[in-house]
Structures are given as C-alpha cells and as structure tokens.
C-alpha cells in the first residue's frame, strides 16, 4: 500500500511541471508566478500573429516528418535483420546503430558540426538537423519495431512463399500488415522526438531556426514567456495525442499478432 502511495507521489512529481503549463498559458498576467490573475486566451491569439514562429513551426514540421519517415525505414531494416537473420558481427553492428541512444547528444551535435562546417565547408540547414535527428531517432524506431518483428514467426514469410508468393510480395502481404501498427507507432514517436529536440538542433540549425530553438530565443525575454507557455500547452497536448495514438496502435498490433502485451516498447 505504501508502495502505491509512493508510486502515485512519483507520478505527481513527473507531471508537476506539465500541469503548470496550461495554468500560465491561460493566465492573464505577464509574470510567470503565483498568484494567478484572470483567465485569458490572448496568448494563444498572440501565437497566430507571430510570423517568425510560423516559420519555425513549418521548419520543425518538415524536419520531423522527414526524420520520422527516414528513421522508420532504417528501423525496419535493422529490426528485421536483428529479428530474422543471423549474420557476422551482429552484436557489434546492432550496438553501433543503437549507440546514439546512450551517447550524450552534445557529442552527436559537435561531431556533425565539425564534419559539416569545418571539413566539408557546407552551410548548416534543415538537412543537417534532419541528418542528426535521423541518427538519434533510429534507435528508438528500432526499439519499437523490434517488438513487432520479434513477435513475428519467421516461418510466416516462408509459408507465404511456399504458397506461391515472391520474397517481396510475401513481405508485403504478410509481414507488412503484421508490423504496420509498429511502423505507425515508430513514425509518431520519431516525429515527436524530432519536434521537441533542442540540444542538437541548436548546434546544427541553419538560418531558419526550428521551433525549440526559437523557443530558446524567446526564453530570454520575460515578456514573451506567456506566449511560450501557450505554445508549450499546444505542443504537450499534441504530443500526448500522438503518443496515445502510438500506444493504442502498438497494443492493437500486439493483439492482432496474438501476443500477450508485455508492457512498453523500450
């Protein structure tokens, strides 16, 4: 019982900052502190008037969309190879691909910065951010898709081939439908990570900042903080919706494959 109380207290600790977001987003006062003044939606209206923000959001959406697709494709390759084949140096190769999961993000950021700017003399752009985001999102995609692929009976594709399908159509007709929930889940998670990622984007972003980089700029101006709160509320809301869809799909995928749910994907 005391464990349950502790766990609930821990959840409150986890959610404490997020709960504050909407409070201040709808608070009619420029200072982010208690006590609250009145209710207002003017900070949300202000969001719609900020041109620079719109550009940042567009950039971030573009980056996140491309990142999610690319990292999911790479994730499918790795998860499939990991689950269905034995090949030389398997552990080492998978380890290298998964390494960004534990590598400090600043290392990824500075190493790519050095290569792009100092060695290749290219300029930073959305593409450099995408390159780095794909790198850090791929391990998450793999982790999610591993669940989907490892639950797959390797005989399944062989059975399809035995019944007359080619290797590719066996994949398309049997494997793809079975791992589709995992794929969508991976797309959503990678999208969310990329959309929120700051540490790397700050190093690699070009002339057009991503949304988190733009927010970072706003944090220096106390006057714009309520707008950040409003933006944050929308972002958190959006993230929760995307994650909920991802989770529902993951569970549906498990049910479809007839596997017992073993909890989260990580």
């Amino acid at each position: 019982m005391s464990l349950r109380i502790y766990a609930i207290a821990y959840l409150i600790f986890l959610y404490a900052p997020i709960v504050l977001l909407p409070l201040f987003a709808f608070n009619d006062g420029t200072i982010i502190a208690f006590p609250l003044s009145g209710f207002t939606t003017k900070w949300f209206t202000a969001l719609t008037d900020t041109k620079a923000l719109h550009n940042a959001v567009q950039n971030s959406l573009f980056i996140a969309a491309l990142t999610s697709v690319l990292s999911t494709i790479l994730g499918v390759c790795a998860a499939r190879a990991g689950a269905m084949y034995n090949f030389p140096l398997k552990r080492g190769i998978i380890g290298l691909v998964m390494l960004p999961l534990v590598l400090p993000e600043i290392i990824v950021a500075v190493s790519l910065l050095v290569v792009v700017v100092q060695m290749l003399h290219m300029s930073l752009s959305n593409w450099t951010v995408i390159a780095a985001h794909v790198l850090i999102c791929t391990p998450f995609s793999i982790a999610i898709l591993n669940g989907a692929f490892q639950n797959l009976d390797p005989s399944m594709e062989e059975a399809a081939m035995d019944l007359g399908e080619s290797r590719w159509s066996a994949f398309r007709l049997v494997t793809l439908p079975l791992v589709m929930p995992g794929i969508i889940s991976s797309l959503l998670i990678a999208f969310t990570i990329s959309l929120d990622e700051f540490i790397i984007a700050f190093f690699l972003t070009g002339a057009n900042p991503t949304m988190p980089v733009y927010i970072w700029g706003l944090l220096r101006f106390p006057g714009s903080l309520p707008i950040v709160m409003a933006l944050g509320t929308i972002l958190v809301g959006l993230s929760i919706i995307l994650l909920t869809i991802a989770e529902i799909l993951r569970r549906r995928g498990m049910a479809r494959a007839g596997v017992k749910d073993k909890g989260s994907f990580l």
């Binding site: 290298l96 600043i106 500075v110 050095v114 290569v115 990570i193």
Partner: protein, 290 residues
C-alpha cells in the same frame, strides 16, 4: 549479382542491416573520428591549423577551470544517476510486482508521457516551480512554513540536479522494470519455501536478478546527462555551469572548435571510463556473491 548477395542467410542479414549500418558509419563513426582528429589541431583565428599538437589537451590539464567543470559535471551526473535510480526502483518494483497485468502498460504509458514532451519547456517550468516567486516558495510561505523565499533551490547545482533527475526518471524506470518482469515469480516462492523472509528474499533473489536492469538504468542516465547544457544554462546560474556549457561555448561563441572537440573527447572518455569501471565492479560483486 543479386542472387549472389542473397545466397546465404548471413549475406541477406548483412544486406538488410546495411542501410542503418552505413548511415551510422557516415553520421556517427566518421564524425566521431573527425572530432578526435580535430582535437589534435588548433584554431588560428578563422582558420584551423592542421599540424598535430597536444596543445588542446595540455590547456585542459593546465587550466583549473576545465578540471573544475569536469569534476562538477561528473559529480552532478553521478548524483543525478544515484537519485534517479534510487527513486525509480520502487516505482518499477511497484508496477512489476503489484500492478495487475492488464494495468501495467497503462502505468508505463503514464510514466513515459512526460518524457516525450518538450524538454526545453519542461526545464523552464522547473524554474517556475523552484523560482523566487515560484510554486514551492509561494506555497511554503502561504502555509506559513517559511517567511522568506528559499534561495538555495534555484540558480545552483541543486536546481540542476532536481531538474535532471526529473527529466531522466522514465529512462531509469523502464530498464529496471524490464529486468524485474523477467524474474520468474516461482524463484521468489522457492526462496520463501527455503526459509527466507520476504525482505531477505528481496535482497538475496530479487535484487541480484534485477541487477542487469539497474546497471542499464545507471548507464542510460549517467552517460547522457554529461552532455546536457540546457538545464545548467537555465537552472544553474553562475555556479552551476557544467562541462557541456563550456563545450557549447567553445564551439558556438568562442569559435575554438578544436579545443571544444578536445573537451568533448575528455568528457566522453571520463564517462566511458567510469561506466566501464562501474560495470566491472558490478560484475565482480555479483560473482563474489554467487
């Protein structure tokens, strides 16, 4: 050609893994090699002098500021790791052992959600909570526990530790949970059957068996925290800056990429060395017990 490539299972596997592998080599292995190389070069105003030199490393050793930052960073990462893992273990234990099976994924989902929401905004909100007029202070004053706002909870190392511990909480819970889930429940019954109490069963069976998860949790928190510069920047004040802030400054403000690269490598080596030592000691400890 294609037939030859897909002739054996091993080749098919390598072919399948090659896109992510090539990507990781191009975007990770080569760039890391590049910063290693870079750290032996020097910045000469706008140009980079590519003669091999250990000057960057010499500077890091000789100037006490770098050592102090590194020491503080390792202290912060270590403390954050310790606090996070200790606080996370009971939660993972609760979800694994006391939550009914059909509710487990809901709990895990609730635990992971905050982790996926904008890191930047989450860190900033801790400033709101811990600040001079923040939630904690106004709350405590209203209740009457304190007269003056507490100042030791913002713009110092404590604030950095609290914020990081919050940010990495799910990272610690998940691996421990996975390890606990793998424990065959009949082992615990066997232990009690053999005369151990619930508490000694925990220490003699559950804890050793959950060790892989604990180790993973420690590494997955300890290693990335060293590279975080957002939290110290926003929460640390003047006395709470860490090595990552210095790396960032060298690259983006002082335009001394080679020194920044050397700092990044030194930081990474320290973390790697400590992690390996930890894993090694843990193995020895486990072996010593059995």
């Amino acid at each position: 050609m294609w037939e030859k490539l897909t002739a054996t299972e091993g080749r098919r596997g390598l072919l399948m893994i090659s896109p992510p592998l090539i990507y990781a080599i191009l975007m990770l292995a080569i760039p890391i090699g590049a910063i290693v190389l870079f750290s032996f070069w020097t910045q000469n105003f706008m140009d980079v002098d590519t003669t091999f030199t250990l000057n960057n490393y010499r500077e890091i050793i000789e100037k006490p500021i770098y050592f102090a930052l590194l020491q503080r960073s390792l202290f912060v990462s270590g403390t954050v790791t310790f606090v996070t893992v200790i606080l996370a273990f009971p939660v993972a234990y609760f979800v694994s052992f006391h939550v009914p099976a059909h509710r487990k994924s809901l709990w895990l989902f609730l635990i992971t959600i905050p982790f996926w929401t904008s890191y930047l905004i989450r860190v900033f909100l801790w400033k709101v909570i811990l600040g001079y007029n923040g939630v904690v202070n106004t709350g405590l004053i209203n209740v009457g526990l304190i007269d003056e706002p507490l100042t030791f909870i913002l713009y110092n190392v404590n604030a950095v530790i609290i914020t990081l511990a919050h940010a990495f909480a799910p990272f610690a819970i998940l691996p421990i949970f996975v390890a606990l889930e793998k424990i065959d429940r009949s082992l615990l019954e066997a232990s009690e059957d053999l005369g151990e109490s619930k508490l000694s069963t925990f220490f003699r069976v559950t804890l050793p068996l959950s060790m892989p998860g604990l180790v993973a949790a420690v590494l997955i928190v300890f290693i990335p925290t060293i590279g975080d510069y957002v939290t110290p920047e926003l929460m640390g004040g003047a006395g709470g800056k860490l090595i990552a802030n210095m790396i960032q400054t060298q690259f983006l403000a002082l335009n001394n990429a080679p020194l920044g690269a050397a700092l990044a490598i030194v930081a990474m080596l320290c973390v790697a060395a400590i992690s390996l030592l930890f894993v090694f000691l843990n193995r020895r400890w486990l072996r010593g017990r059995s």
